[in-house]
């Protein structure tokens, strides 16, 4: 039985949402899209129908957000609410219908990214949480965790610094590198806080994509096969954030699927450019 974080939408029915909602969270450049791509393929091979979705992909506001960010014209409350609108649109029009139809929904980021970003930009922490209370509680939240020192080379040697992911909209006096470092450090701190609060399953994203994939696969299998297993996993992850709690409880199965061994360490993973990812990901195969 699914539930929300406390606020119900009008006439919302949750008792027939039989699918599974799986969230992959993590900062920019950490490899989320690569993993979602692999997971989708694997789940479909297993016979599960999969919906993958991610921030600012809604039909209602997705394009407007992208245009807004090109022009840097929106205030921080406005931008934050624009993202929340996008999220609500996808929740009602994609995620809930898919869950009702029994899909596994893989979402590239969820409200936690919106909360973390808004907090770093100085918005009231209680307010940001409260306005997202209509969100469904996921069946599992996997957080791909990385330190800023490991993150920087990945970003530099792939696609370079992104204006927004460097927090240039509010650290405007510094250069991109300093700004990126400061912004991502602040963001990672928030994520660690949220990891505890929302019971993320923390995965060490410094490891090879193949290893991360195995861990995600294990975690998802548990969600799909055994409800009790999820509770166990959550309890185990109540360990302090950053201690790779998942490693301790997820026995790694041996072989990776053939053909994935030479997967590059990261596929560039810029915010909100899922289509680019898919293109790049398919090129690397």
């Amino acid at each position: 039985m699914k539930e929300t974080y406390g606020a119900m939408l009008p006439d919302e029915l949750l008792d027939d949402l039989v699918g599974k909602l799986i969230v992959i969270e993590g900062t920019d450049g950490v490899g989320r899209s690569t993993q979602i791509h692999l997971l989708k393929e694997w789940l479909e091979q297993q016979g599960h129908a999969v919906l993958d979705t991610g921030l600012s992909r809604s039909g209602l506001v997705g394009k407007s957000i992208k245009r807004a960010k090109e022009g840097h014209t929106l205030g921080r409350i406005t931008l934050s609410l624009f993202y929340t609108t996008d999220f609500a649109d996808r929740l009602e029009n994609e995620i809930i219908p898919a869950l009702r139809a029994g899909f596994v929904v893989l979402t590239d980021r969820y409200i936690y990214s919106l909360i973390a970003r808004a907090m770093v930009r100085g918005l009231d922490p209680a307010w940001v949480r409260n306005i997202h209370r209509f969100a469904l509680k996921p069946d599992a939240i996997f957080y791909l965790r990385i330190g800023v020192d490991e993150l920087i080379p990945r970003v530099v040697f792939t696609r370079g610094f992104d204006y927004w992911e460097s927090g240039m909209d509010f650290y405007s006096t510094e250069d991109m590198y300093d700004s990126f470092r400061r912004y991502q450090t602040a963001l990672l701190e928030r994520f660690d806080q949220l990891a505890e609060e929302f019971q993320f399953q923390v995965i060490d994203a410094r490891r090879e994509p193949r290893v991360i994939f195995e861990q995600l696969r294990e975690g998802i299998l548990r969600v799909l096969t055994n409800r009790a297993g999820v509770e166990t996993a959550r309890a185990a992850v109540a360990a302090p954030p950053g201690t790779s709690a998942v490693h301790a409880i997820v026995p790694l199965p041996a072989p990776a699927p053939a053909g994935e061994k030479d997967e590059p360490v990261t596929v560039p993973d810029s915010e909100d450019s899922a289509e680019d990812h898919r293109k790049r990901a398919s090129r690397t195969r």
């Binding site: 939408l9 039909g59 209602l60 929106l74 409350i77 406005t78 609500a88 307010w127």
Partner: protein, 227 residues
């Protein structure tokens, strides 16, 4: 981020609320003319919201893409844009800002669509608390008669057609307005709104409005613009 009631800024914010046909826009226009003539730096907030937000709202309405939740959120986004780029800077500069409709419109309308009232109040917590919020109280029948004399045809969301109250737009509008009226009445004590009897002659209503405004402006002489 300052919350509702926490802003300490030199300007003055006067807003009008009421159902369609309550005469609030006429009253605000008269107040605007008078304040200008008196030499105050007064801005009628035209809702110069960013074209981006406006376009999205327009498109969503035209194509009927909006649910109660996204209707509510896209309007909150739009209002945030006005607040951040228009209302707050103007008030900081010491202006008298006038708004035709404010967050209470969203509370009444979105609650009528079934949104959680507590969530709505939190959503708009970033709004500046008005110096005076006027509520133009009018019986539904009086308001409907005024509207019917003046215009024809309601838009889809305006008539609350998304709620499926009635397939007839006129009837749907009437039922929707009745709900909104109930919501307004609940908000009068909650937000300490100043009630104006909107069945009184126009001049009498305006007289009341001006008296209350004067009291708030005498404490702030610096708002006067020297001619």
């Amino acid at each position: 981020m300052k919350r509702y009631g926490e802003h300490r800024i030199p300007g003055r914010l006067f807003i009008v609320e009421g159902i369609d046909g309550s005469g609030k826009s006429t009253q605000l226009m008269l107040l605007h003319q008078w304040l200008k003539a008196e030499g105050y730096g007064v801005v009628f907030s035209e809702w110069n919201s960013s074209p981006l937000v406006k376009d999205t709202t327009k498109r969503g309405k035209k194509k009927q893409l909006l649910t109660p939740a996204t209707f509510s959120l896209i309007h909150a986004t739009d209002f945030a844009d006005r607040t951040e780029r228009n209302i707050i800077p103007l008030l900081k500069a010491g202006a008298v800002v006038l708004c035709d409709r404010y967050i209470y419109t969203a509370f009444a309308r979105d609650a009528s669509r079934g949104m959680d009232p507590a969530w709505l109040r939190e959503l708009y917590a970033f709004a500046v608390k008005p110096t005076i919020a006027y509520y133009f109280r009018v019986p539904l029948e009086v308001a409907l008669k005024r509207i019917n004399d003046g215009r024809a045809g309601f838009k889809f969301y305006e008539a609350g057609m998304d709620l499926g109250l009635s397939s007839d737009p006129d009837e749907s509008f009437r039922l929707f307005q009745a709900r909104i009226l109930d919501e307004y009445e609940k908000m009068v004590p909650e937000f300490g709104m100043t009630v104006i009897d909107a069945t009184l002659p126009i001049e009498a209503q305006q007289q009341q409005m001006r008296q209350l405004v004067v009291a708030k402006l005498t404490q702030a002489r610096q708002l006067r613009v020297t001619p």
